[in-house]
């Protein structure tokens, strides 16, 4: 079965979640990956969106973080202050899924500005929930398309803490959560080096070369001693993902007709 790089990335991200996880979900690829996990190997994974929807089981992917679908299919819906205080800060979330405009070699994320803060070249949306998700969840999975403009040696602005600019800042700040343990891209998987916390290639997707990974990394890409080839998506995984996207397209088409 043929598949796209985007599908490989979503499936690889979904596989990282388990039935034991309580996951703080962002819009876009994280939302697709989390719901794919729920529809395939991890039916008991619990999904929380920052709009306050707890244990939500959307039939279609939301366009926004606060779509009615999330509330309609949630076990309960709490206020936004409550979701950040009791559920995130309270330490009840095992995994947070983040992305951004830039990621650096230590998994720090920038979703604030390209260029200087005072005179930005590009003003990006900003933190949203990310700054506290990055430190409040047990661990962080990052999912981003790989390229030299987005995988940079140093982020222009550190919105969400990974392992810090030195790779060791979490310990220095007394933060006990793990931070980024997995970076999923359309080319490979990276995990922090056990010594330095530098994001290191541990698995390369089928058909992708080391040279391609290196070319699309803005720092000198490091490869683990034992680099695997990522298992390609199974027919079941692809089927579930495509059905989810097809249902989503139909629903948003229909929703768009109402006003």
């Amino acid at each position: 079965m043929t598949y796209s790089a985007q599908e490989m990335m979503t499936v690889a991200a979904a596989r990282a979640l388990s039935n034991e996880d309580v996951c703080f979900v962002g819009i876009g690829l994280p939302s697709a990956a989390c719901n794919l996990a729920r529809l395939t190997h991890a039916p008991r994974v619990r999904l929380i969106y920052e709009s306050g929807t707890i244990e939500t089981r959307p039939d279609v992917l939301p366009l926004s973080i606060g779509d009615g679908e999330l509330c309609d299919t949630a076990l309960t819906t709490v206020s936004v202050p409550e979701v950040f205080r009791y559920w995130l800060q309270g330490g009840r979330i095992t995994v947070g899924f983040l992305g951004g405009a830039q990621v650096d070699r230590f998994g720090n994320l920038n979703s604030t500005v390209i260029g200087s803060y005072a005179k930005p070249k590009v003003r990006l949306p900003g933190s949203g929930g990310a700054a506290e998700i990055a430190t409040g969840c047990g661990q962080i999975f990052i999912a981003m398309r790989q390229g030299r403009r987005s995988f940079v040696n140093q982020v222009d602005f550190l919105t969400s803490l990974g392992h810090g600019r030195t790779g060791r800042e979490r310990a220095e700040l007394g933060i006990r959560t793990k931070g980024p343990t997995l970076l999923v891209t359309d080319l490979c998987l990276m995990r922090p080096d056990p010594e330095t916390n530098e994001m290191t290639v541990t698995s390369i997707h089928p058909g992708v070369t080391r040279a391609q990974v290196a070319e699309n990394t803005g720092w000198e890409a490091r490869f683990a001693a034992d680099v695997h080839e990522t298992e390609p998506p199974t027919a079941d995984e692809l089927g579930a993902l495509r059905d989810l996207h097809a249902r989503t397209a139909r629903a948003h088409g229909a929703a768009a007709g109402e006003s």
Partner: protein, 281 residues
């Protein structure tokens, strides 16, 4: 410093007003204004009336500026923006907000930037009559370096470092809700966001509603209700949250959020759309 409630303003005398009366009476040039609603129940109609009445120099407070603040900023109503996520949800940029920040059009915009956890905590603190909010937040983030309102203090019991930010105390909060009853109590259902905190933190509060009912009838004993004496004015505005949505009334107009990307990208298409749909409407 006193809180917004018992020390300052024991009971607001709620009145049913028209939209233009409510905005004229409660929103003034230079005010700090919070139009809240987390993706759901965004008070678009009220924001449009603020634009039509030509308010200037507002401090706009909102977790997610969304299209409504993009429009208000593009029309020159704002001097300062206090926010935590300024994108078009699921679509991309807010082009009018970006134009103001990147190029100062139509006027320079001062930005006070937080995280969602910080914004939510600041509303909670305002509603609680506290001068500031504490949270385990902003750790290791450059946000603390660019926002002078983010400070760190040591917990007096454990020595843990905690972030501290000033409470939000808007001059006026405006929200949209599904319904009010004849007495002016307000019922909010679905994704409730920070609306309750934003109303209780503010000096004045205006609520637009889809409908007024005789009474709320059967409901959960834990339903989210703002008593009439926490509200300054109620305005009946059916569809007042479009193109966002009202749970139980209408769905989010996702297609318009996508269209806005094109409408708002250029100054002239934006201005033409506003003339056609808001200022002449």
């Amino acid at each position: 410093m006193t809180g917004p409630g018992i020390y300052a303003n024991i009971a607001r005398s709620m009145e049913f007003l028209t939209l233009s009366e409510a905005i004229a009476r409660h929103v003034h040039d230079g005010d700090s204004v919070a139009l809240e609603g987390f993706t759901h129940l965004i008070p678009f109609a009220a924001g449009h009336e603020i634009i039509r009445q030509g308010r200037r120099n507002l401090t706009l407070i909102r977790m997610t500026p969304d299209l409504i603040y993009d429009q208000m900023i593009g029309m020159g109503a704002a001097r300062r923006l206090v926010f935590s996520w300024g994108g078009n949800p699921g679509v991309g940029s807010l082009h009018r907000m970006r134009d103001a920040v990147e190029r100062g059009w139509p006027a320079p915009l001062e930005v006070v930037e937080h995280s969602h956890a910080g914004m939510a905590a600041a509303y909670e603190a305002g509603a609680s009559g506290m001068p500031c909010a504490f949270l385990r937040g902003y750790r290791g983030s450059d946000l603390a370096a660019v926002n002078g309102h983010v400070r760190f203090v040591a917990c007096p019991f454990t020595g843990q470092e905690l972030a501290c930010i000033p409470a939000h105390r808007p001059d006026v909060t405006i929200i949209h809700a599904q319904r009010a009853d004849r007495e002016g109590n307000v019922l909010i259902e679905g994704i409730i966001g920070v609306q309750k905190e934003a109303v209780l933190a503010a000096r004045r509060a205006v609520v637009t509603v889809e409908e007024v009912v005789e009474n709320f009838g059967a409901r959960s004993p834990n339903a989210v209700i703002l008593p009439s004496w926490t509200v300054s004015a109620i305005v009946v505005v059916p569809g007042g949250a479009k193109p966002s949505y009202a749970h139980g009334f209408y769905a989010r107009n996702n297609a318009f959020y996508v269209e806005w990307d094109q409408i708002s990208r250029e100054r002239d298409t934006f201005s033409a759309w506003m003339r056609e749909n808001v200022t002449r409407g």
